[in-house]
């Protein structure tokens, strides 16, 4: 697994970026934080696009920057692909020439990703001879992604590539981003302030706040951490689970998922048995029951859980961090907590009223 080591300290008129990162790079790593937290600046520092008088950056064995030694490899000599917020296609070239711009500038031995492959994954075969300005926003961004991929990068940096697109185009593009990571095995650093995109895409997350790193780790660990739920405003998400399709029950319009031996039901999904499916659960949709009662319930999804930690949120409500084979947060009232006498270490059942599919992008 690749590893990224980076340290930057840069003062800007409005804020001070001061980060130290030591993160494994596999899958999609999201850089998440509110506007103005320095996400884009951090990404630009990683690429070498910002002037950084004090910076260090190493990717695996490759040292790209060490200002203490006066070393800073220019961007065009780093095996990085960069997708900007706007597509930045070259207007004087056709789509094909845009795609080949970087491809032609690397040596044939470096070309690990073929043109056919990229065209296939991104579905841009029909656009090759078009001029760039009459493509839709989503098509332009797909070409921009393809152009970056064709430099066979070892690391792909994406700066809110969906931000300038409408909801429908976003939905169109998300599976492509997921696919390119799954099929080409290029680690991706993905900047976004949209939690919905991150729930769908990210494997790991770097939380950024006022120019410094407030937390990093696997997506679910960070989402259920106190730091995230206390400071990032997106406290509604209780957890993200990577499950598999186990069975279909078409007569009820349901699909049964398997999550570490426990069953979860979601509305019917046209996905083959055995395929992975990511779901998220809102913390307010989780209720806790001590001992499974014999009385029947309409709730289909009941998971075995152990209480890991109880966190005071405000006077009326508490967060209960559960272990269901993955971390999951339940938001309950303080009154319920008292009535049930819940304590860390207790075994409980988590009744889940609704399971949200991550394909349903909610802002």
């Amino acid at each position: 697994m690749s590893r990224l080591l980076a340290r930057f300290s840069v003062r800007y008129p409005t804020f001070h970026l001061n980060v130290a990162l030591d993160v494994p790079m596999a899958g999609i790593t999201a850089i998440f934080g509110p506007s103005g937290s320095g996400k884009t600046t951090l990404l630009r520092c990683l690429a070498g696009l910002e002037q950084t008088p004090d910076g260090f950056m190493q990717f695996d064995e490759d040292l790209w920057q060490d200002t203490a030694k006066g070393l800073c490899r220019p961007l065009h000599k780093r095996p990085i692909g960069y997708v900007f917020q706007e597509p930045r296609l070259f207007p004087h070239y056709s789509v094909r020439s845009n795609l080949l711009y970087g491809y032609n500038r690397i040596s044939p031995e470096e070309r690990r990703i073929s043109i056919e492959r990229v065209i296939d994954i991104l579905g841009i075969g029909h656009l090759l001879d078009r001029r760039t300005h009459n493509l839709s926003g989503g098509e332009q961004q797909r070409v921009a992604i393809g152009r970056a991929l064709l430099t066979s990068p070892k690391l792909l940096l994406m700066d809110e590539p969906l931000a300038s697109l409408d909801m429908q185009r976003k939905q169109e593009l998300l599976p492509f981003i997921r696919r390119l990571h799954e099929e080409l095995h290029i680690p991706v650093m993905y900047v976004s302030h949209a939690i919905a995109e991150i729930l769908q895409l990210a494997d790991r997350i770097i939380l950024l706040k006022e120019g410094h790193v407030a937390g990093t780790g696997p997506l679910n660990e960070v989402l259920t951490s106190l730091e995230f739920r206390g400071n990032f405003g997106s406290h509604r998400v209780g957890g993200v689970l990577d499950a598999h399709v186990a069975n279909h029950e078409p007569q009820y319009g349901l699909t049964q998922l398997d999550f570490k031996g426990q069953a979860l039901f979601v509305p019917f999904q046209p996905v083959a048995v055995g395929q992975p499916m990511r779901i998220h659960i809102l913390s307010s949709d989780v209720s806790l029951v001590i001992g499974r009662t014999d009385s029947p319930t309409s709730v289909l999804n009941i998971l075995d859980a152990m209480i890991v930690e109880i966190r005071e949120i405000n006077h009326a409500s508490v967060d209960v961090l559960l272990d269901i084979g993955a971390p999951l947060v339940a938001s309950i009232t303080r009154k319920s907590l008292m009535n049930l006498g819940l304590k860390p270490g207790n075994r409980v059942f988590a009744y889940i009223k609704a399971v949200a599919l991550n394909e349903e992008l909610v802002e």
């Binding site: 220019p74 961007l75 065009h76 706007e86 207007p91 711009y101 300005h133 970056a148």
Partner: protein, 224 residues
């Protein structure tokens, strides 16, 4: 053109050679300077901008006087070349470079500002060096700026008079250009020739400006 003498035709040739050389020199020197002006955050920027714009407002005689001193045998440029550059074609090119500088730099600078740094960064991220990116991405996008700069620089050099007279004199075949030829003709009451050359200059200048405005309208700078 029957009214034109051989001397007039040689003046036309000197004018065209002078304008071509001046524009070439200004493209080589002016492109990096215009790029720097378009993107620098340096405090020197307004000072350089003002200096570049000076020839627009300065009387040509003032510019011509200083250039004459500089190009003369005891001036810094004359000493560098180890001979007097005043009253030579080379001296005239040097003088014209200064005189026409704003007409080349300013269109380039505004084109580079319109293009911005975004396409350049995109090209870098696609393995293009800075020079490669400039030649293959920035220049084509800023093409309109280059056309304006070339046309205006050329036309303005064709039309200069005061500086040319002071620095170059009006030596036939060497430093006598069209504009000074008109002056010579008027001096000796040759109004027919003066009319012909003046009409040529008038139409030439109008056509050039018309071309610039049409180009600006037809080829707006697109940055996606």
């Amino acid at each position: 053109m029957g009214a034109l003498t051989d001397l007039d035709l040689s003046a036309l040739w000197v004018s065209v050679r002078l304008a071509t050389m001046t524009v070439l020199v200004l493209l080589i020197v002016g492109t990096p300077l215009a790029w720097w002006l378009a993107h620098t955050k340096s405090r020197l920027r307004p000072i350089v901008e003002a200096a570049v714009a000076l020839p627009i407002v300065l009387p040509p005689t003032v510019l011509g006087f200083y250039l004459l001193v500089a190009l003369g045998p005891y001036g810094p440029l004359g000493r560098f070349a180890n001979l007097s550059l005043a009253f030579t074609f080379t001296g005239l090119v040097i003088a014209s470079v200064f005189y026409s500088m704003p007409f080349v730099i300013q269109p380039l600078q505004s084109a580079f500002e319109a293009v911005g740094k975004a396409p350049l960064e995109a090209a870098w991220s696609l393995r293009a060096s800075k020079l490669d990116a400039f030649l293959t991405v920035i220049s084509p996008i800023a093409l309109r700026g280059f056309i304006s700069a070339i046309v205006l620089g050329f036309a303005h050099t064709m039309g200069e008079f005061g500086v040319v007279l002071m620095v170059g004199g009006s030596i036939p075949g060497e430093t006598r250009v069209l504009s000074t030829t008109i002056f010579e003709h008027v001096e000796v009451m040759e109004y027919t020739q003066a009319h012909a050359i003046s009409a040529f200059m008038l139409i030439f200048s109008f056509v050039v400006l018309l071309a610039v405005y049409i180009i600006n309208r037809r080829f707006p700078i697109h940055v996606s």
